[in-house]
Structure formats: C-alpha cells, structure tokens
Subunit: 321 residues, 2 copies
C-alpha cells in the first residue's frame, strides 16, 4: 500500500484545469503501487488514475513508460492510456512530483490464477509483444544479468542471515548465468513484471494489463519466463505444468516461439527466478523504518530457482513438443 | 491512510454473492479512515464503499452506526446508505471482520473551507440534527465530559513532555468543565466528528456527510461547537469570525438555537477543544510502531482552547445578536 505524497483537493483542481476532463467529482488515494503514489480521480467525464512518480522512479525513464502505454493503447491493447493536457503534454507535475494521469481500467486481479487465466495471460503477453514491436524508444533492462551482481553485492554478505547457505547458492547461480546467458534472441518491449496483480480480468477474460514501470527492451522470451515464475507455481511451491502448458500454448497461439527461444527457456526461467530472489532479498534486508508493507519472501524464489535448475528442456514447462 | 486487512478478490466475490449488486468490476483499497479498512468496490450496478470494522470499533455499536445511516438516508440526508444483503441483513462479515457495504458518495472534501462552505456545513449539520430527531437508538457520548478525565489519566503524566505546563492547563480546564458542564440542553443524534474531511462538496454545495463512527446521543449544540472548532480557525490559529457567522447563521436558518443553547456555546466550545486536545494527546503519546500516519498536533487544540477561554458570549463566535 502506498500513498507517499499528499495532494489537496485545491491542488488537484488546479492540476485538472490543465486537462479537458470535466470537473472533479471525487478522489481517493488508493493503497496500491509500491513505487508511486496513486489516486483514483473521478470527474464528470470519467475515471482516471493519477500517478505521482516518487523518487525510486528515474525521471528520465518517464517518457519511455508513458510513450509505451500510449503506443500499446493506440494498437488496441487494453492498458492504461495516458491522458494529454490541453497543451498536448502528457507528463505534468503536482505536489512537486512528476505526474501523469491515465484512464481507469476496470477489472479485478486474481490471487490464485487458474489454467484458463494462464492461457488468457499468455495470449495477452504475446499481443503485448507484437504491439510493442514498432515502439521507437528503448530502455535497457537494468534488472537483467548485468544488474544481478550489483544487487547481490547490495545484500552485502547478509544473505546467510536470511537462510543458511543462501549466499553460496546465489553466487554459484550468478556465475553460471553470467557465463551462459542466452544471446541473440528476438528482443523488443517487455513488461518484465507481469505478476497476477498487474493483470485484470472480467468474466474470466483478460481485461487489461497495468503497471508498466519495469517495462524495458529485452528478450521477449524472458518475459515469458517471468510469467512462468509468477503464474504457474502453486502456493506450496510446486510447478503446475497444466498452467504452464496453458500459458505457453496461449502465448504461441499469438506469437510462436522460435526453436532458439524454446531452447533458452529453462535458462531464462532461472534468470527470472534469480532476479526476483535478488530484488526481494535486498528489499527484505532494507525494510524502511515505519514501513507498513511486509516485504515479500525472497525464499519463494530460491525454491523456484531449484525447480528450474532441475529442468531439462522447455517441455518440462508444458511446452508442446 | 489505512487498509489494515487484506481482502482477496475471491473473498470479495463470495461476499458480494450475498448482495444484489451485480458482478464485481473493480476494487481498490482506499487510503482513508483511521479506524477501519475501506475499499472502493465497483460492480455492474454501481460504486460502493466496503468497510471492515477493525478492533478499535466496538461491535456492539455497529447497529447504532449502520441504523443511523439508514435512518438519515431515508430522510433525504446525503450520507452513505447501507446496502442490505438478499437476506435483509446489513451487517456482514469478511476476512474475519464485521463489515458493511454502503453506497459511494460523490464529492470532494475541502482543506481550506471558505465562509460559503461554512454556511453550507451549518445548514447540513442542522438538517442532520432534524433528520436524526426520531432515530430510535441511543449511544452515549463516551468522549464527552465524563470521558475526559480517563483520557487525561491515559496520558499518564506525559503531557508536559509534549509542552511544558500542558498538564496543569488541562487539569485546570478539566476541573472547570466538570464543575460547570451545561445540563438540560436539547439533545439528540450528533455526528461528533464533522471535520472538513468528513464533508463532501460539489460545485460549492454540500453534497454529503460521511464517517458516522463517532456519532452518538448528546447536546445538539455540542455538535455546533465541534464544527466551530473544526471549520472556523485559520491555519495560523486565529478564529475567523466571518466563517463562524456563516456557520452559525446557516445552522440557525434550518434549526434556530434556543437562548439556553446560545448561552452554553462558549462552554461547549471549550469542551470540544478539550476533547480533541485530549484524544490527540493520547494518540501523540501512543504512535504505534511502524505507523505511517503522523498523529495530529494536540497543541492546535490548546491554542483553540485558549481562544474559547477568552470568549464572553456566543456573539464572539459571530452569532447574530
């Protein structure tokens, strides 16, 4: 939950006067988003989400994120659509923060996705990849293989305090992946954080994808690997191959994977597991004073990593042979 | 800001199946309410606020609060209207908490009320008092004069750590008010916490009153005194008699004050100031570990109390002579 910055009604009304969105009828801080402050703004014209970008978001990245949402929405992908001011500008400022307003997307995220949700998600992810193919901007993935060692160093020898042997397990995996990370796979815009809380469903159909603030340019199949990690494991840690099959066949129905991508999938899945293990570990070790947010368990991703290390081929994830 | 209890989409859908409100289209925890967890729930039928009553709310009081909102809404007051389940019951349970769903009220609260807002508020408060006159249930005001000494004792000798001399100032005022608290004034349902954040406006008109969780049975003029404290002081601590005049004349246009109520107003205003001074003091001394909420400054109400102590008559508040 997060509303880091307070916005007064008067400030908001002044801000909205720059937009052609009617007059304010209600606004509520919403308890969502770890990086930014979010408000649900309702006007005589409709509902919007106002996001204030807090300091963890690099301002230089905002044109990429906002441009990407515009680009994807223009291509029919259901995602938040940035609202332009009368001046034409999309990025604005309120309460001393860079801010943007996007359309409100109906839909409800699922906590326990079914195989059908996974199939929908796979199709949606592939549509996102296709829709992003001609997006002009690029943004390096600073949480891919080159970014993992600095994260590990940020944990500063404290990993074994979280679980005995964790530091050695990470060090070994890091060395393996640095030496063998796939090269030359099809690349483009990826979401990079498409967890169930960033996907909305209505009547069991994917109704929208939100939170593009980790989006970047990277291997498309890495995004698939992130989703296998995020959608296809059960709470007890077991991989659910039925869900994996549904996700992968949903994806391939829209964008078939190349042989090279299929071969790389186990390694990409290990990398995705290590990425979330590392960021969760760093968050775990750095809970800010006074935080109400309980950090997510890094060890969930150690268990997933162990699974991927034992995988022989993409067929083990449920990929059609 | 507060969302104390997490609700999963699946839990919410099961909960909503007991209501005739259509199907869920979105829900968001909202960062409002100090005592309870609140969610904005949107369905194919409309928008609702789902409130989970956390432990600071006495469950035995819930029928009073919910019955009052039903009663007032049925009499045309714009306030949240509890939504009944198919069974007819209004109080339900979700995530192990007592819970109720009320209609969503459009409107925006003001931070810096103008005199016109104060006039609107005064009229609305009087309408609330008239609409509540035939409400059958009663609830003692446990934050009136009999409740103040226990609060002072809860501060446990720590008041002077907040401001030198504060303990003596409170002790003296407490003794004065205990000995001279008005008796026999017209009583009925009062809101008891009608601060600007609990009043919504649209186009400068009062569009709704929310948060009835301090409502109780007490002197109606005490509610007026609470509002004078909450609406008519400037940020620099000065009493704004123009706003006071607007609030009081707005109130009297709907429900004229009796001579006895007018005479009691300065004393009631002192009591209201002491009440918020004491509760804020206790909150100040008991910030829960990990709280994101910065407690409100108790000394704001010491300054207001000083003003009231110097008041000679209700005319000093702007009451028409």
């Amino acid at each position: 939950m997060a509303v880091y910055t307070d916005v007064s009604p008067a400030e908001l009304e002044a801000f909205l006067s720059g937009y052609d969105v009617g007059t304010l009828t209600s606004f509520h801080g919403i308890a969502e988003g770890v990086e930014n402050s979010n408000f649900l703004v309702q006007t005589t014209r409709g509902s919007y989400i106002l996001t204030l970008y807090e300091k963890r978001v690099n301002r230089d990245d905002l044109p990429f994120f906002i441009g990407l949402m515009e680009h994807l929405a223009a291509r029919g992908l259901s995602c938040p659509q940035p609202v332009a001011q009368r001046s034409g500008a999309v990025l604005s400022e309120i309460a001393g923060r860079p801010a943007a307003m996007v359309t409100f997307l109906p839909g409800v995220s699922v906590r326990r996705p079914t195989a059908e949700h996974c199939a929908e998600l796979g199709r949606g992810l592939a549509r996102l990849h296709l829709a992003g193919a001609d997006f002009a901007l690029a943004r390096a993935n600073n949480l891919s293989v080159a970014g993992w060692r600095p994260l590990f160093e940020a944990a500063d020898g404290q990993a074994d305090g979280v679980a005995p042997g964790l530091a050695a397990a990470i060090a070994a995996e890091l060395a393996t992946l640095e030496a063998s990370w796939p090269k030359g796979l099809p690349a483009g815009v990826i979401h990079a954080d498409l967890f169930p809380d960033n996907a909305f469903f209505l009547d069991e159909k994917l109704s929208g994808i939100i939170d593009f603030y980790f989006a970047c340019t990277d291997f498309l199949a890495y995004d698939v690997a992130v989703c296998l990690n995020a959608w296809c494991f059960e709470p007890d840690g077991a991989y659910n191959v039925t869900k994996g099959r549904a996700l992968l066949s949903g994806y391939e129905a829209v964008r078939p994977l190349s042989d090279k991508e299929k071969a790389a999938l186990p390694r990409l899945a290990r990398g995705a597991a290590l990425r979330f293990l590392l960021t969760r570990l760093v968050d775990w070790l750095n809970v800010p004073e006074g935080a109400l947010v309980r950090p997510k368990d890094p060890l969930e991703y150690l268990r997933k990593l162990r699974f991927h290390q034992a995988v022989d081929s993409a067929q083990d994830y449920g990929l059609a042979a």
